[in-house]
């Protein structure tokens, strides 16, 4: 089987989420990549260096700079004449584009796969990960999104893929990019961090969220996450949200502070290796999944902990 993997990038550098999708694709067959964007020579070089990669298709066009689904989907569809499967990392970019490709190919997409069981059979989470379904497709072409935490990352170096320029129909004239507010942070990225410190509603304000969570995260070299309640209340930006409908993370250590542990939150972090919970309510559901719990007032515990580290 010939697979095509969507390369996640920001026109400058290749994102780690790509590497997990490559691992999933390699279980199906030959791995080709697609780099679509503007001024993406560097990304294409990085893509060709990933272990196990054959061809790297590069579509360098201003119409693809912001990965608008309206423009990118037809490009991918045009490459599906010569590929049997297309895989996307389950990022917001992948989730935006993949179904548009699937519908154009008249294929039922398989979302957020956790494993490859066979050429047509996959497992995927449903009901916020409270159930795992094994599904078998009868479609001739496969359109798949890949949960990053479920697959090891392919080695970013050692490969010798060949780069080939491709072009599509360019701008379809349906949509235009108007702007972005992308947070710049010195901290590790949430989805690839080894340690995450996450804050919940209990933080009470944006000031307290930063005053309590940030110094602890700095001490642990951690990324910062949040519950939906903390994001909705404006204590933390939307891209911090961990959960069923936010980011899926699986760090070595996840520290949940003032988070109750609703199923929608657990859905995003319960595959973390070690979970630590700090909560004043000893019956909080988070303690049912926590490896290490400390019951008490976070406003006393967190400053003391930060100081002692």
């Amino acid at each position: 089987m010939k697979t095509l993997v969507w390369v996640e990038h920001d026109n400058q550098s290749l994102k780690d989420a790509t590497l997990s999708a490559v691992t999933a694709a390699a279980k199906l067959g030959e791995v080709h990549l697609l780099v679509a964007g503007k001024g993406v020579d560097g990304v294409a070089q990085a893509a060709a260096a990933i272990t196990g990669v054959g061809k790297v298709h590069v579509a360098d066009d201003a119409a693809y700079e912001h990965f608008l689904a309206e423009n990118v989907a037809p490009l991918i569809v045009s490459l599906m004449g010569t590929h049997d499967a297309v895989l996307f990392p389950a990022t917001t970019t992948g989730k935006n584009i993949a179904p548009r490709v699937a519908a154009a190919l008249d294929v039922m997409q398989i979302s957020d796969i956790l494993s490859v069981e066979g050429a047509d059979t996959f497992t995927r989470p449903i009901y916020a990960g409270n159930a795992i379904a094994t599904v078998q497709t009868s479609d001739k072409k496969l359109v798949i999104t890949v949960r990053g935490t479920a697959f090891a990352k392919a080695a970013a170096t050692g490969g010798s893929g060949t780069i080939e320029a491709v072009s599509g129909e360019g701008d379809k004239g349906l949509s235009t990019f108007a702007g972005a507010e992308i947070a710049k942070s010195e901290r590790p990225e949430l989805t690839s961090a080894k340690v995450i410190v996450s804050g919940g509603r209990a933080l009470g304000s944006s000031e307290q969220f930063h005053a309590q969570i940030d110094p602890l995260a700095d001490k642990l070299g951690a990324a910062v996450g949040a519950s939906r309640a903390a994001v909705d209340a404006g204590y933390a930006p939307n891209d911090y949200q961990v959960g069923q409908t936010g980011k899926i993370v699986a760090p070595e250590v996840y520290v949940a502070i003032g988070i109750s542990g609703a199923i929608q939150h657990l859905a995003g972090m319960k595959d973390s290796k070690t979970i630590i919970a700090i909560n004043k309510d000893e019956d909080a559901p988070i303690f049912q999944v926590a490896d290490i719990g400390l019951v008490g007032d976070l406003f006393k515990i967190v400053p003391e902990l930060t100081e002692k580290l």
């Binding site: 608008l68 990022t91 916020a128 379904a133 078998q136 497709t137 949509s175 290490i292 902990l305 002692k308």
Partner: protein, 250 residues
């Protein structure tokens, strides 16, 4: 401008899903079913557009069992939708087939905007809106946290992995809702009573001539590996020792 809002009846988000012992799925017998939370946000947005004078009519459509009429179409009309369409079926309809049916409804109704939820909290597919956009050849503003109509288009602010992104779309367009778009109103009892007189058209899948045969076969459904509860420590000092043991603190 007419706004079309597709809504799905799902297991209520407060209910903990239980996997059936025979591994065929999740137990939905005698449990509370409600409107998908993202679809409530979609209706709220549509009703606000009408209240602002930007939309003339809000039409809500659901594909599902007969009970969807009372479980979700009534709620939607009580929230302010003008009329409903029930495409009744006892079969499980996959997102691709849902999108095909919705495309037919859109051809009939000619809405200027279709607002869907970004994700149904049962299948967690996050596909239908994007598929519908592809089938209709319309632009899509997914994971919206802000929707502003103006002139011949709509500006959508999207929640993306790195933060926020804004796109300008030509109308007609598809929008899918994220959690921060708005806070949906409650369907009050008096409004539920009043909503009963708002019309619902009843249809079948066959009425639309769509082949809804599933493409995916569910071989089995199992519970995920369980995490067992760990230990509780009694002091910050003990926690510091544990963190050292894990190698994340010096």
């Amino acid at each position: 401008m007419k706004v079309l809002v597709p809504v799905k009846r799902v297991l209520d988000y407060n209910v903990k899903p239980r996997v059936k012992a025979d591994g065929t799925g999740v137990d939905l017998a005698n449990v509370k079913m409600s409107m998908n939370p993202f679809d409530e946000i979609a209706i709220e947005e549509a009703v606000r557009l009408k209240e602002k004078g930007a939309a003339t009519e809000v039409v809500v459509v659901t594909i599902g069992v007969a009970k969807a009429e009372t479980d979700v179409l009534l709620t939607a009309r009580a929230m302010g939708a003008d009329r409903g369409i029930l495409i009744q079926t006892d079969d499980e309809i996959e997102p691709l087939a849902v999108a095909k049916l919705l495309a037919k409804v859109a051809e009939e109704e000619q809405p200027g905007l279709i607002i869907l939820g970004k994700q149904a909290i049962d299948d967690d597919s996050n596909q239908t809106g994007q598929m519908l956009a592809a089938l209709l050849g319309w632009p899509q503003g997914t994971f919206a946290s802000k929707v502003e109509l103006g002139g011949n288009g709509v500006q959508v602010t999207r929640e993306v992995d790195g933060g926020l992104e804004t796109v300008d779309l030509k109308l007609p367009a598809i929008v899918t809702t994220d959690l921060r778009l708005n806070e949906p109103r409650y369907a009050t009892l008096p409004n539920i009573m009043k909503a009963k007189s708002k019309p619902v058209a009843k249809k079948t899948v066959a009425d639309y001539g769509v082949d809804a045969t599933p493409r995916l076969k569910t071989l089995k459904v199992v519970e995920p590996a369980k995490r067992s509860a760990g230990i509780k420590v009694g002091s910050v000092d003990e926690l510091v020792e544990k963190l050292k043991g894990l190698g994340v603190a010096k």
